[in-house]
């Protein structure tokens, strides 16, 4: 049976996924399954039955011609990975989305850190500009997605299958982490309204939670493309992806928390000089780490793009 499904998968490779082709594939699969069961019931052994069923398949191009559908790739090379096809089609989103998330994070980080530690001119303008650019990028990605969908220019059936398979197989850790992070964030938010932890910490925790929630939402939105990118790069094991998530998320929270806390500590007397000295630099270091990480990711995407161009 597996052989039959694989055969159908191969036959449908490179065929654009729309309602008609999906229906056709479902029908043919159901028919071949029924025929297989009929043959087995009649006494044939499984491999014989599979052979007979496959020989009765015919030529898929005949049906496609009737439906007026053309295959996606006219190139003779049959081993174009369906994942590569997906990445190739979504290259703009793959670059634009992390960039937008980066800008969004910085908009919040810099507002809270730089604004309180040093007076930077036009910080308000920089923050608002980052927010605007970030929103614009997300909106453009959304429009592109919408257009692509309306032109029936979706990823092929096999790329979709590969996507689903990979997401199920390798993203369990990332999703678990995401779930835990969301829960913690929500709990913190609720806590701030009910517990008497003192105004400073309450304020800090509230800010941390809000920013963390926003970050988390965008992180989830980016997850799909990021995982595909990881597969394509073929050098990022699952654990590393999870570690990167922890790192990004953790640093984001740490930066904001320390910055906001520092702002309030300024008001207290009797703090050790070394402590203040350390705290002064931690936000910058943390922000620098986040910058470096996200920049590396954006550079990865740019490298990928040039790779694709040269492969053409």
């Amino acid at each position: 049976m597996e052989a039959i499904l694989n055969y159908i998968g191969t036959m449908f490779a490179g065929i654009p996924a729309n309602d008609d082709t999906r229906r056709l594939r479902e029908e043919i699969t159901a028919n071949m399954t029924d025929r297989f069961n009929e043959l087995v019931k009649a006494g044939k052994n499984e491999s014989e039955a599979v052979g007979t069923v496959i020989s009765e398949f015919g030529n898929i191009d005949e049906v496609l011609a009737e439906m007026g559908i053309e295959r996606n790739t006219a190139k003779p090379e049959k081993n174009i990975s369906p994942v590569k096809e997906f990445v190739h089609k979504n290259i703009f989103s793959l670059i634009a989305r992390p960039l937008a998330a980066l800008l969004l994070m910085f908009a919040f980080s810099y507002w809270f850190s730089i604004n309180h530690l040093v007076s930077v001119r036009y910080i308000d303008v920089i923050t608002v500009a980052s927010l605007c650019i970030s929103t614009a990028l997300y909106y453009i990605c959304f429009i592109i997605r919408k257009k692509a969908r309306s032109k029936h220019n979706e990823i092929s059936i096999d790329a979709r299958a590969a996507l689903t398979k990979h997401r199920e197989k390798n993203s369990a850790v990332v999703r678990a982490f995401g779930f835990v992070a969301a829960t913690v964030t929500a709990v913190l938010l609720i806590m701030t309204y009910f517990l008497e932890i003192g105004s400073t910490w309450q304020w800090g925790v509230r800010i941390v939670s809000s920013i963390a929630s926003v970050y988390f939402v965008f992180e989830c939105a980016m997850r799909n493309e990021r995982e595909m990118l990881d597969i394509y790069m073929e050098n990022k094991p699952e654990t590393l992806t999870a570690v990167q998530c922890v790192f990004r998320y953790g640093l984001a929270c740490l930066t904001i928390a320390v910055c906001t806390h520092y702002h309030n500590m300024e008001m207290y007397d009797g703090n050790e000089e070394t402590l203040i000295f350390m705290l002064k630099f931690v936000p910058y270091v943390a922000a620098a780490f986040i910058t470096a990480l996200c920049a590396a990711y954006v550079i990865d995407c740019a490298v990928l793009r040039s790779k694709m161009k040269s492969e053409k």
Partner: protein, 113 residues
């Protein structure tokens, strides 16, 4: 073995014939073809679906979603246009048979099998 060139002209007729006796779905249609021809002719999956697509485009059949054995299947039903087309095909077949028989001996020659 019948060459595919010859049989291609008749695939639509075969399907329409089966649908005149009632609505049916893909697998059942191909099964009935096998039964009727005593396994002399097995219609390929893709041939079947090309024909069904063509017939639906011409308005000879219509499709609807149904259930068989708890599974969702597409059922096909012959339309009035289809019935008329089928009659035409039958008449055409009679005429063709008369014409070709003149060249192949037809009823004058005894059958080989």
């Amino acid at each position: 073995m019948i060459s595919s060139d010859i049989i291609r002209g008749y695939t639509d007729t075969m399907i329409l014939y089966i649908l005149t006796s009632g609505d049916s779905y893909g697998y059942e249609i191909s099964k009935r073809i096998r039964e009727i021809t005593d396994d002399s002719y097995v219609m390929k999956e893709t041939t079947l679906y090309s024909a069904l697509t063509r017939l639906e485009k011409n308005g000879c059949i219509s499709s609807y979603s149904g259930l068989h054995d708890g599974r969702k299947r597409t059922y096909y039903r012959i339309t009035d246009t289809g019935t008329a087309a089928y009659r035409e095909k039958c008449d055409e077949r009679e005429l063709t048979k008369k014409v070709i028989d003149k060249f192949t001996g037809g009823e004058q020659n005894g059958s080989d099998t």
